[in-house]
């Protein structure tokens, strides 16, 4: 087995397992973020989380495979340098992408909390204090309800 093949196989194994691990982490913790305390639609959080994570996993795998460009046979040292360089690039970009995803989840959470607050405020003003979001209702949500 040539060095190029060994490097490719190693790289693909690392890329795939890393993607699976990151996707699982994102799904589990993202679900926690999207859930509301007294959720009217519990399936919504699950569906949102799953859809976001699937997009992330597909993008990541595609990027990882595009990044691996083996050109011909390599000597052992060159192969090792190639593998380390590719893995470094992959890890850095996946790390950044993961942080970006976390921000997206937080954004989703905030908008959902605001919507809930607006709906509840319209129908049952007395329950306003039980809004479970980490944010108090935004300026807009409050104006929409006509608090001021």
């Amino acid at each position: 087995m040539g060095n190029a093949l060994v490097v490719s196989v190693l790289y693909i194994v690392v890329a795939v397992s890393l993607t699976i691990w990151l996707a699982a982490t994102l799904y589990r913790n993202g679900l926690e973020l999207l859930r509301q305390r007294d959720d009217q639609q519990p399936l919504l959080a699950q569906a949102t989380s799953r859809l976001l994570v699937i997009g992330f996993a597909l993008f990541t795998l595609g990027y990882a495979f595009l990044l691996l460009q083996v050109r011909g046979e390599m000597t052992g040292v060159v192969a090792l340098q190639f593998l380390i360089r590719r893995l470094g690039i992959l890890l850095v970009s996946l790390g950044l992408l993961h942080l970006l995803n976390t921000l997206i989840f937080l954004r989703f959470r905030r908008s959902r909390a605001e919507e809930d607050a607006a709906e509840r405020g319209g129908r049952r003003p007395s329950r306003r204090t039980s809004v479970s979001g980490d944010e108090p209702p935004s300026e807009q949500a409050r104006l929409r309800r006509g608090d001021r």
């Binding site: 982490t25 913790n29 040292v77 380390i84 360089r85 470094g88 890890l91 937080l106 306003r128 001021r148």
Partner: protein, 134 residues
């Protein structure tokens, strides 16, 4: 296996140890900040903290790998010199990143506290019980 390779392996081991230690630290102490931001919803703070730490770990490990320059033909002394230099660079950038992380956490907490204070003023009695006293 020659001397140079051993030096490089030591570099990788040290980098991994350092990064995992930083990750543990960030997770443990960052959570306390996040607990406050999310008003003691502990599950939520833990989830956000785990997500952030995962991103930090993956990014930093990749950065450490990118810094690594392997030259198997080098004498052990030369390899040691370049490894020490790489490690210094790694430490510097990790230190900078850690400080940046701290600043972000502080900023997030300050914003949450001031937002809470504003909300309690607007909503009157209803929310006052939930505002953390400073």
């Amino acid at each position: 296996m020659n001397g140079a390779v051993i030096v490089y392996l030591v570099y990788v081991a040290l980098a991994i140890a350092l990064i995992s230690w930083l990750g543990v630290l960030l997770h443990r102490d960052g959570r306390i900040f996040l607990d406050d931001v999310f008003r003691s919803q502990t599950d939520l703070a833990a989830a956000v903290s785990r997500l952030l730490v995962t991103g930090f770990l993956v990014f930093t490990l990749g950065y450490a790998l990118l810094l690594l320059r392997i030259d198997v033909g080098a004498t052990p002394i030369a390899a040691l010199r370049s490894s020490v230099q790489q490690f210094g660079l790694l430490l510097l950038s990790l230190g900078a990143m850690h400080s940046l992380n701290m600043l972000i956490l502080l900023q997030v907490r300050r914003r949450a506290v001031s937002r809470r204070a504003g909300a309690s003023r607007d909503l009157g009695e209803g929310r006052r019980g939930r505002v953390v006293s400073r």
